[in-house]
Symmetry: C2
Subunit: 210 residues, 2 copies
């Protein structure tokens, strides 16, 4: 397990089986890691707890092999069950304060924030990082509200914990998002929706690093 | 919190908002407890984690007031978050062995079993009770397989932990189910689907006690 301080949020992969078509999730994530993904978040919304657990166990083997942190979306029970490195919670998930009473500081806890107020509260309540967005319109999360790059800059100035931009970020706009001085970009379709997942990750990382 | 040994499984209420129509879940459960429900299982399949948590917090206040154990269906994270008395897991939920590594003996753990083999395994792995069924056809769980009363008797002879029969049990058949020498009946529609919830619970308890 990575220590919290050393985590590189630069290329934060979020899974979505809908964009994968018939391709295998585990194999695709491994290719994304080989291409440079620095964090993996497993996000599953429509499967049984057993299926989620089995998938997370398999994915943990891959992320552990490459030393990349595995973060589970929403489900603290799954995160505990597979000893994941972290949990990512949205505003419709368990409250951060409740999660902290259960896991203390043993797990990386990320929180989705759509506003400056939500970001400030998450930092105050002990989040390790925030996911801020949606930065651009996205097909993978239709109910999202949008923020501007100026909003990102304002939030960056207001809080000290790492910020990952999320929502519609791809090879065309990743550079301008990183230009707001945040720590990373969360990517779904622009990696897992591409035919060559490894190459897509490599290309994104190259652009971000330049 | 009740100690595990003292739990009375006799009239085990399982919630289902679909059978409630427009009536309030929390108030209906309180009426069921006033009518004699001895255990309450909160079962939610289609809401956010935050909604599930908020509902469970409210329900916990009611069950605590009456000293009735609150058991959460499927979601260990919700059970931990609200300090529920127990967790009930089905065969598509987190594996019992995994749950036990997280909660140890601090929580009542119930397991759904459809066969003698599943019941034996649950007992061996440390379940505190098993829910066996479905005993009769039911509208609230359409994918269930059915067991006969003879199956229930066989399982009763094979295991020592408490057994709760589940699936289509109502005021017409509860007595014959309890006649298989099991500890309790799990009821959904035959309490929460009735106009007078309290009276329905009272009537069921009266029949079971006779």
């Amino acid at each position: 397990m990575s220590t919290k301080k050393s985590i590189d949020y630069k290329l934060y992969l979020v899974t979505d089986r809908n964009v994968l078509g018939n391709r295998d999730l585990i194999q695709s994530v491994e290719e994304a890691i080989q291409g440079g993904a620095t964090v993996v978040q497993l996000r599953e919304k429509n499967c049984s707890s057993l299926d989620f657990y089995n998938l997370a166990i398999k994915l943990k083997k891959v992320t552990s092999k490459y030393g990349v942190p595995l973060i589970i979306n929403d489900r603290l029970d799954i995160a505990l069950a597979v000893k994941a490195d972290g949990l990512h919670i949205g505003q419709e998930d368990l409250p951060l304060t409740v999660v902290k009473t259960i896991v203390g500081d043993d797990m990386i806890i990320g929180v989705s924030a759509n506003t400056l107020e939500e970001a400030l509260l998450a930092e105050k309540q002990g989040a390790d990082y925030v996911g801020i967005g949606a930065v651009y319109p996205t097909d993978t999360k239709l109910d999202a509200d949008y923020l501007t790059l100026d909003d990102l800059r304002s939030i960056r100035k207001a809080i000290s914990i790492p910020i990952v931009g999320i929502g519609g970020i791809n090879e065309k706009n990743a550079v301008e998002v990183m230009g707001t001085n945040i720590e990373g970009v969360a990517i779904v379709s622009a990696i897992l929706g591409k035919q060559d997942v490894k190459q897509a990750a490599q290309e994104l990382l190259r652009k971000i690093n330049n």
